[in-house]
């Protein structure tokens, strides 16, 4: 997770996302930060979510870390 001035971006890879739509996956993360977002402590939270299998498939072709 990284960011400045209350703008954050996060990549979340979790097995809990299996079988869930992207909308549901993003809602799960927003729910964790509900208070901070309501208080505007987090003004923006850019999300990228993936299951471990998706992440392995995609990171293999796109990124090297």
């Amino acid at each position: 997770m990284e960011g400045e001035e209350a703008h954050f971006s996060a990549v979340v890879v979790s097995g809990a996302f299996e079988g869930k739509t992207r909308i549901e996956q993003h809602r799960m993360i927003y729910a964790l930060f509900q208070q901070e977002m309501a208080d505007q402590a987090i003004h923006a939270l850019a999300l990228r979510t993936a299951t471990p299998a998706e992440w392995e498939r995609e990171s293999g072709s796109q990124e090297t870390r």
Partner: protein, 107 residues
């Protein structure tokens, strides 16, 4: 929640095959995330409607309560909630958004 406002929002959602609730307008977005979503749909070359949520703060509150989605923009295709800026960006990059948009304009 004022019902008249929710009714208006539902009407807006159904008023066009593609509807974006944004901060600012298509010509003058007031937020980078709204601007990115607008740019994607402009690039797809199909008409879309934007609803500026900034003039009346109750619109955003009512919309977010209705969709259970805390952020703006919010994108609807054929009346169905698609997600926010990150989701449409990812769908666009993966080639999933284009067919959905085309299907929305099939008779």
């Amino acid at each position: 929640m004022p019902d008249a406002l929710l009714d208006q929002i539902k009407k807006d959602i159904d008023s066009s095959p593609i509807v974006l609730f944004t901060k600012g307008t298509a010509d003058m977005p007031m937020c980078g995330f709204s601007a990115r979503a607008i740019a994607i749909f402009k690039g797809l070359g199909r008409p879309f409607k934007t609803v500026d949520i900034l003039p009346d703060p109750r619109v955003r509150q009512t919309l977010s309560a209705y969709t259970n989605w805390p952020t703006i923009p919010q994108i609807f295709i054929k009346g169905k909630f698609i997600g926010g800026c990150d989701i449409v960006t990812e769908m666009y990059q993966k080639g999933e958004l284009q067919p959905l948009v085309e299907a929305a304009f099939q008779k």
